[in-house]
């Protein structure tokens, strides 16, 4: 009887997911035809940020590694994708180097998808290489080290002038990102995070988050799982960076700095770390709020109002509901809230 119920609920959840995705894309289709280009742009931007926040949630929320290096990985993805896809004609006007032979030669510009994936792969490689030493650190030390990684990436982007044009940034990047690319990637990201979290990998990650020593006693190799979470997170951060570059059409080293880092962290924390829906809810809330308040800001002439309200919202959340909007209250001693999800499901 237990088996039947388990199977039933599993099928149910899959069906639910498929229906949800279908409804989502239907809504998007309606929105893209019915609304003005401005609103469609905002909806698309939300999709891009969901890719970033959902992937950050894998390290910060599920594995308990409070990483602040996400914007750095986004920068890697953004620059890789922008440089690979930049049209050959524009390269001379903008003094961007042509592609070397092994990447297709000087007369080639990559299509969007492979460039996007390549950006993700580069970010993941960087995460794996940097992660080995950095992930030995814990808590605040890890946060600071990952922040250092972000600073390092922006400094590199600034000083590798021949490749990245330095602080001038790259403009006129083809704007490939549309509502379908953004939400296609968002769905894939959320799906991958969901699958990882609900697998034995995910349970090991959560165990490490709750108590690393206890996890080691159980025979879990913390570095392996941390590295895995970090690398997968970085891969999707790279994708998000690529999407961002191709939606804004312009990138500069400082675009991937503290502002973006904290914006994404706020999205995750506000929505609820360690939940699938949390980052999505946080992203939608933060982005919609930003654009709804804009006309108010202009009418009042108080520019910067949006940031004040962000901060206020964050303070209120931290005081009233520190686990975030979608977060579950912890049910008892440390880690109590995870007992259900750890023991309940098997895959």
């Amino acid at each position: 009887m237990f088996d039947i119920r388990a199977t039933f609920s599993k099928v149910d959840r899959r069906l639910m997911a498929v229906i949800l995705i279908a409804v989502l894309f239907l809504c998007l289709w309606v929105a893209s035809t019915a609304f003005s280009k401005y609103i469609v742009f905002i909806i698309t931007l939300i999709g891009v940020y969901i890719v970033a926040s959902a992937s950050l949630n894998l390290t910060n929320g599920y594995t308990g590694l409070f990483s602040l290096g996400h914007a750095g990985f986004m920068a890697v993805g953004a620059y890789t994708s922008a440089l690979l896809t930049f049209p050959v004609k524009g390269r001379e006007i903008f003094v961007i180097p042509k592609l070397p032979m092994f990447l297709g030669g000087p007369e080639a510009a990559w299509p969007f998808l492979p460039a996007l994936v390549m950006g993700g792969v580069f970010a993941a490689i960087l995460a794996a290489v940097v992660g080995l030493p950095v992930l030995r650190l814990r808590g605040h030390y890890l946060s600071v080290a990952s922040l250092g990684l972000m600073v390092l990436v922006t400094a590199l982007a600034m000083n590798l002038r021949n490749l990245t044009r330095g602080s001038i940034g790259i403009n006129s990047i083809p704007t490939y990102t549309n509502i379908w690319w953004a939400y296609g990637c968002a769905v894939v990201t959320v799906y991958v995070v969901w699958r990882v979290v609900n697998s034995s990998f995910g349970r090991a990650m959560k165990a490490i988050r709750e108590d690393e020593i206890a996890a080691r006693v159980q025979g879990i190799n913390p570095l392996k799982y941390k590295l895995l979470a970090f690398t997968i997170g970085a891969f999707f951060a790279g994708i998000a960076g690529g999407l961002y570059a191709h939606i804004s059409g312009a990138i500069r080293p400082y675009a991937f700095s503290f502002n973006l880092t904290f914006q994404i962290v706020i999205m995750v924390v506000l929505g609820g770390q360690g939940t699938i829906s949390g980052p999505i809810v946080g992203t939608v809330l933060v982005t919609v709020l930003r654009y709804v308040l804009k006309p108010l800001e202009e009418a009042l002439g108080v520019y910067g109002l949006v940031e004040l309200i962000y901060a206020l919202l964050l303070i209120i959340t931290m005081l009233r509901k520190p686990e975030g909007i979608m977060g579950r209250k912890s049910g008892g001693p440390r880690g109590g809230r995870w007992v259900g999800s750890l023991g309940g499901k098997k895959s």
Partner: protein, 403 residues
């Protein structure tokens, strides 16, 4: 269950927001269709980073756009129509910039866009505005390759012009032969300006001894000062590619390091901060800029008075004055072509000859979107910038030098 309640509330909020947008958008479209409704007001969209690192130059420019709009309306508007300006703060964020540009063109139905005093942001926003056939004028972005890259018009001179003026002055009138160039690696404007300066100085016969590099947010320049000191026998003067935030500190540290050679800089140094931070050390620093606020020209005096009356302070820098002139350029273009239709304003701009602005006389040579303008050569004296001369460049470094 609490989560569900919250989720429902959130969805309700998003839907409400969507309704708000959606109800706003169609009315705007409806208004757009009957030409008569839209035509009675000329709407200028303004894009500025009013918060963030560029606020100190973009803010004054927006203040002046407001002043110009008021002045135009007080004088009866353009072609009998009132002018209205709406400013969107883009918070030094690329996605914000793109969304704001789309919004101005899609839902706000602007006739022209004025935006930014920094090149990167112009290059981000202008191509989008161009797609709608709406002209984009930048008050203060001085990169000479902006038109070819984004289709925007400049209300200011290009970096090539100001670098050439200062190089010529140093070589011919001051007899300086060798220079050390300090470049702000984190600032594209500085990089471009210094490249033009080096080219121009070499053209006139001078020699660049060495380049040194710093970054915008540094507060300690002692390493650069020490290097300069060790080579001061072979260097006649130093050219600093500074911006308002660091010129004061740099000048102070050079002088405190015991170096007495002349210091030259560009329009980024045109800020009260130079005298405030460097104090007596600011004495004698020579810069190029768009104008001097000490000018006794009647239109400049009137402008400063108007700015003071409207905002309760004097214009902060030349970017303020450029914001005023950019707005006046739009007004003049509409008058010249006799139509406020966005697609025609560009043609109107190209007809502008000898428009007397606050920052000098502006004309666009045929086929050019960078105006012919004189450069003001200023010297810092007693906490003020005094005019040495207004000059037009005799040699223009090729714009391809700037990346």
């Amino acid at each position: 269950m609490k989560r569900v309640t919250l989720l429902v509330l959130l969805i309700a909020f998003v839907c409400a927001a969507g309704m708000l947008f959606a109800s706003g958008a169609p009315t705007a479209e409806k208004e757009a269709k009957p030409a008569a409704v839209k035509e009675d007001v000329i709407k200028i969209g303004v894009l500025m980073n009013l918060t963030g690192p560029w606020a100190s130059i973009d803010g004054p420019a927006w203040n002046s756009v407001q002043l110009a709009v008021k002045d135009i309306n007080d004088a009866g508007g353009i072609l009998g129509k009132k002018v209205d300006a709406i400013c969107i703060d883009t918070k030094a964020d690329e996605a914000e910039t793109v969304s704001a540009a789309v919004r101005l063109c899609e839902t706000e139905n602007v006739n022209a866009v004025i935006g930014y005093c920094d090149t990167h942001w112009v290059l981000t926003a202008a191509p989008i505005v161009r797609e709608y056939g709406i002209p984009f004028i930048t008050p203060g972005a001085t990169h000479p390759r902006i038109p070819e890259r984004s289709g925007a018009w400049l209300a200011c001179f290009s970096d090539a012009a100001q670098a050439s003026i200062v190089a010529e002055y140093a070589y011919k009138e001051k007899g300086l032969r060798t220079v050390s160039v300090w470049i702000d690696n984190a600032c594209d404007f500085s990089v471009a300006c210094c490249a033009f300066f080096e080219d121009a100085f070499k053209h006139f016969g001078g020699k660049v001894v060495y380049e040194d590099y710093f970054e915008t947010d540094w507060t300690d320049y002692s390493a650069l000062v020490t290097r300069l000191k060790s080579r001061q026998n072979e260097t006649d003067f130093v050219y600093v590619g500074a911006i308002p935030g660091n010129i004061g500190i740099i000048v102070k540290q050079i002088r405190e390091g015991g170096i007495t050679m002349p210091i030259y800089s560009e329009d980024g140094a045109d800020t009260p901060l130079l005298a405030e931070v460097a104090g007596r050390h600011a004495e004698g620093v020579i810069i190029t800029s768009h104008m001097t606020l000490e000018s006794k020209e009647p239109n400049v005096v009137k402008y400063i008075k108007g700015y003071n009356a409207m905002h309760g302070k004097n214009p902060e820098n030349a970017f303020a004055a450029l914001g005023y002139d950019a707005t006046m350029l739009v007004a003049e273009a509409i008058k010249k072509i006799g139509s406020a239709e966005p697609k025609k304003i560009s043609a109107g701009l190209s007809l502008i000859k000898e428009l007397k602005g606050v920052t000098g006389t502006i004309s666009y040579p045929a086929g050019m979107q960078v105006p012919n303008k004189t450069v003001a050569l200023l010297e810092s004296k007693g906490g003020k910038f005094l005019l040495i001369k207004n000059a037009a460049p005799v040699y223009m470094p090729p714009k391809e030098i700037a990346k």
